[in-house]
């Protein structure tokens, strides 16, 4: 026992990382070769025969990106209560998906979201607007993912970020181009297993260390393991106020803004094309409902653990560094200092680290991402756990990137080429076009990963606002409001997306003014992240008003609406 333990520690973080990352990559490539797509149906929707559980796992992996895995717990640990906007926002959308969208879109039985918009609103213009929205949303989102891949590589394997991005590109290229949706689905099943294991193991270890409770969800509401009888959250509230921060369990955003951001994220989730399209892959309507439930269950395992990790990490951080001698800081502090993710400037030259809310006195700046990436080291966990986190982060980033690339390639080859430019293209030709557009999409994504435009990080969160402002109302009205016509839907989508883009450009990027305008100038006190809610309401309003003044949709379209409301007979889903 002692010998094997010694061997395990002698292997070192670096070698463990090579082993685990190498093994998982070999697994993904193996799956890709085994699940090659041979028809457009397999390429776009995995043949439409994926089991609800496999689809649930794939959806969960597709959904949980590098941001969920690496950044979210860190963001929560600095935001406290306010972090709930991400937790509720990124899970509550699945209720909307399961109850309002997934079953009907599955019954409709086409390949893409623009397919639905184009057919339901009997218009090429509507299809084009939808293609534009799908590409805009997916590209803003995917650029951030490729960057995430690069960052994980560079931190754990000590290659530079660009090399990391290129390695990631090659892997995704291989299985997305070869396997299409089919390959992506089954690699995502494997990636879900890797990422959830990698997230839970350190969380459970740390929960036991700090509170003696092996379940992190309960641990962060328990008493400390030191026998003092103090609750962990009370202690963190105390530490936070002592250092001048807001009480951890209270937060500092306005209620209005918390409400708006949560709603924008929920509705945005339900309107994201790469999430919606996953429900086209199951066999029956009832499978689509069940699959949405399973996906959320699997997501919630990570999402309920993240706030616990946030509390553990924040408490650990304060206790390890606050008012300690800089000369005596632990090794991980020095290591992460080199990456620039943690910086210390001794403003008052007392050799101690002052970590306080007051900006003039604070000497420590900590990047959000550290909370998950360095957490195992801060808690002194074994090397293999640290390496596991690297493999998990890569699984999260790669699975999401692949799902997005598929949406991009199908928007081009199916929606644009097959449905608009050249309807006579053969099945074989379309499959080639799909593969070529996947290659092109990977190259563009890689380019943005290597040369990230300064605003990528800022706009990734806003992809949700764009989805909320465009697709969600158009799809909901298309299913639940038979009278909705093309004029209303097109006007709604155009107004919604323009309003969102303008607000984002004004208040996030500051292009209309000399600088990014102050919070006080936000409309109704709502941040750009929460504005998707307003833009969505605007879309609904414009759609309905315009519809009142324009002719009702043709009878055959109204018949389609009747048809998608009935669950049976989804089996014959196809291209025509």
């Amino acid at each position: 026992m002692m010998n094997s333990l010694f061997f395990v520690s002698a292997l070192g973080v670096q070698n463990w990382t090579y082993i685990l990352v190498g093994a998982t990559f070999a697994l993904y490539i193996g799956i890709a070769i085994w699940t090659r797509a041979s028809s457009t149906k397999e390429f776009y929707v995995a043949g439409g025969g994926v089991s609800p559980l496999a689809n649930g796992m794939a959806t969960a992996a597709d959904w949980m990106s590098a941001a969920s895995f690496i950044s979210m717990a860190g963001i929560i640990s600095f935001a406290g209560y306010d972090g709930a906007v991400y937790l509720m926002g990124w899970t509550g959308g699945y209720v909307l998906l399961a109850l309002l969208l997934a079953p009907y879109l599955r019954k409709f039985g086409k390949f893409t979201v623009p397919d639905f918009i184009g057919d339901r609103y009997y218009s090429k213009t509507a299809r084009l607007v939808a293609i534009f929205c799908a590409l805009l949303i997916s590209f803003t989102y995917v650029a951030g993912q490729m960057r995430g891949v690069g960052i994980v590589f560079s931190r754990f394997l000590e290659v530079d970020i660009n090399t990391g991005v290129i390695i990631g590109m090659l892997i995704v290229l291989f299985y997305a181009v070869l396997g299409g949706m089919k390959g992506i689905t089954y690699t995502q099943v494997a990636q879900y297993c890797v990422l959830i294991f990698a997230f839970m193991v350190p969380a459970i270890f740390i929960s036991i260390q700090m509170t003696g409770n092996p379940i992190p969800q309960l641990g962060f509401g328990s008493q400390l393991a030191d026998g003092s009888g103090t609750y962990l959250l009370d202690k963190l509230d105390g530490l936070s106020t002592e250092l001048g921060f807001a009480e951890y369990t209270e937060g500092s955003k306005s209620m209005m803004d918390v409400f708006a951001i949560t709603l924008a994220l929920m509705v945005g989730t339900a309107g994201l094309p790469h999430v919606i399209v996953r429900f086209f892959t199951v066999k029956r309507v009832k499978d689509a409902r069940k699959s949405a439930g399973l996906a959320l269950l699997l997501i919630v395992i990570l999402y309920t653990t993240a706030p616990a990790v946030a509390v553990f990490a924040r408490t650990n951080l304060i206790e390890t560094v606050s008012n300690k001698e800089y000369a005596n800081v632990p090794e991980w502090f020095k290591k992460w200092e080199k990456t620039g993710l943690i910086t210390f400037t001794d403003k008052n030259n007392d050799g101690r680290i002052q970590y306080v809310a007051n900006k003039d006195q604070n000497e420590l700046v900590v990047d959000n991402d550290i909370m998950v990436l360095a957490n195992p080291e801060i808690a002194k966990l074994p090397d293999w756990v640290i390496a596991l986190v690297a493999a998990g982060g890569l699984a999260a980033a790669l699975s999401t990137a692949a799902g997005l690339l598929l949406v991009i390639s199908s928007s081009v080859s199916h929606d644009l080429i097959k449905k608009i430019i050249n309807p006579k293209i053969s099945e074989k030709g379309e499959l080639i076009a799909a593969r070529l557009s996947a290659v092109a999409a990977v190259c563009v994504a890689g380019y943005f990963g290597i040369n990230p435009p300064g605003f990528v990080a800022a706009v990734v969160a806003l992809a949700f606002g764009l989805a909320a402002a465009s697709f969600f109302p158009a799809i909901i009205l298309g299913i639940f409001y038979k009278r909705m016509n093309k004029e209303g839907a097109i006007a709604g989508m155009v107004v919604g997306i323009i309003a969102m883009l303008l607000y984002m450009v004004k208040f996030k990027l500051g292009w209309f003014d000399d600088a990014v305008p102050d919070k006080n100038e936000w409309w109704f006190g709502i941040s750009p992240e929460g504005f998707g809610t307003i833009a969505m309401l605007l879309n609904f309003l414009v759609s309905i008003v315009i519809m009142k003044f324009t002719p009702q949709p043709p009878q055959e379209v109204q018949d389609i609406v009747e048809l998608i409301r009935i669950p049976s007979g989804a089996g014959e889903a196809s291209d025509h």
Binding site: I76, Y81, L87, T91, G221, M255, K286, V300, I566, S568
Partner: protein, 84 residues
Amino acid sequence: MTKNNAKAYWKENIKYVLILLFIWFLVSYGAGILFKDTLNGIKVGGFKLGFWFAQQGAMYVFVVLIFVYVRLMNKLDKKYGYDE
């Protein structure tokens, strides 16, 4: 499967959806945001209740809601002969 059958099915479906979405709203926007401060006066273990709903409880309820919907709809499909 007549037109009336489809209409009745749709009506029941809408009723379920509205009830479930009401609960969805209540646990997240209600307990987690609007009434958070009042609920925070109640403590369960180390958790203030409003905080717990916002960072834990709402998510558990979301999962339960979907599975309840799955069961209700499977029954409804059978009742109206739309089961597969």
